[in-house]
Symmetry: C2
DNA sequence: TTGCGTGCAAAGGTTTTGCATGGCA
DNA sequence: TGCCATGCAAAACCTTTGCACGCAA
C-alpha cells in the first residue's frame, strides 16, 4: 500500500512534518521553504510545490486563498473522518481553524438541500470570521 | 457627488457593463479583457485591474479565488443592502451565485456567536456546492 | 487648463516546466 | 538496476508600478 504517496524521502517527510506541526494554522509554500531552510533541511521550491500538489490530491492538505495575499495557503487536513462531516470556521485574523462539531450545521445542510436544492460541499466550505480570542484582543486595542 | 468613482470614461463604463451583464457569475481580469476586445472595445489590462481595485473599495464588486484557478475572480455585488445580511451559495460547477434569504442561516449565525464565540463574516463567507441545475445535468451524464 | 485616466513597457512575485542528476526500493 | 524524486534554471502567469500621453470636467 502506498496510496500514491510515492517514495519516502526526507524532503517529503520534512514538508509533512512541518504541515502537521502547524496543523492549526495555514502556511504558504514560501513559509515552508523558509522554515525548512532555517532548520538546516533546505528543500527546493519546486519540490515543495510538487508535494503540496500531491498532498492535495490525496486529501491530506487543504488549499486556501486569503484576502490581501497573493500566494496560496495550505493547511494539514486531519484524516479524521469527522472532518468530512462538519464545517470549519477560519479566523480571518489569526488564521486558526476551528472544527465545528454541531448539530445545527447538519440541520442547515438538510434544509438547504431540501428547500433550496443546493448540495453543500462540507469539505470545501469554510466560514470566515473573527474568533473569540481575536475579538477580545480587538476590544482591548480600542480602549 | 461622485463617491470616489472618478471620471466617467468609456473604459470604466465598459468594465462595469460587463460586470453587471454577468452579475450571476464571476469573471476574471483576463475574461473581461477578452470579452471587451471581441466587442471592439479593447481596454488595457492595467486599466482593468485599476478599476477592479476601485470597485472593490467601493464595494461594487466582490473578489473570490476559486480552487484550481490561479487568477482572482470578480463578481458584481448587488447594492441591495440585503446582501450584507445573508449568505451566498456558489455553485462549483457553473459558478452561479445564489442569494440565500433564509431565516435558518440567521439562526445559525446567532448560535455560532452565542455558543462558539465566533463572529461570522457574512460578506466573506460563501457556501460551495452543487446547484440544482448542475446536479440534474450530472445525473443525466452518468446514464 | 488641470488633474485624473489610460496603456505601454517593465518589474515583481508566485507557480510550473524541462532536464540532468540523485536516491529509494 | 529501474524509476521516481530532486533541484536548478528558465519559462509562464498574474498583477503592479513607472511614465508619458490623452481626455473628462
Amino acid at each position: 500500500m502506498n496510496n500514491g504517496a510515492g517514495y519516502k524521502t526526507k524532503q517529503r517527510q520534512a514538508i509533512l512534518d512541518f504541515l502537521i506541526e502547524n496543523k492549526d494554522k495555514h502556511v504558504t509554500a514560501a513559509s515552508i521553504s523558509d522554515h525548512l531552510e532555517r532548520d538546516g533541511a533546505r528543500v527546493g521550491t519546486t519540490t515543495i510545490y510538487r508535494h503540496l500538489d500531491k498532498l492535495l490530491e490525496q486529501g491530506l492538505v487543504r488549499k486556501y486563498t486569503v484576502d490581501g495575499t497573493t500566494s496560496a495557503c495550505f493547511q494539514y487536513a486531519d484524516q479524521n473522518e469527522q472532518c468530512k462531516n462538519h464545517f470549519h470556521l477560519k479566523c480571518e485574523k489569526c488564521g486558526k481553524l476551528i472544527h465545528l462539531n454541531c448539530s445545527h450545521t447538519a440541520q442547515l445542510c438538510s434544509h438547504i438541500f431540501d428547500e433550496h436544492g443546493f448540495e453543500i460541499n462540507n469539505y470545501r466550505t469554510v466560514f470566515y470570521g473573527i474568533c473569540k480570542g481575536c475579538k477580545e484582543n480587538q476590544a482591548e486595542e480600542t480602549l
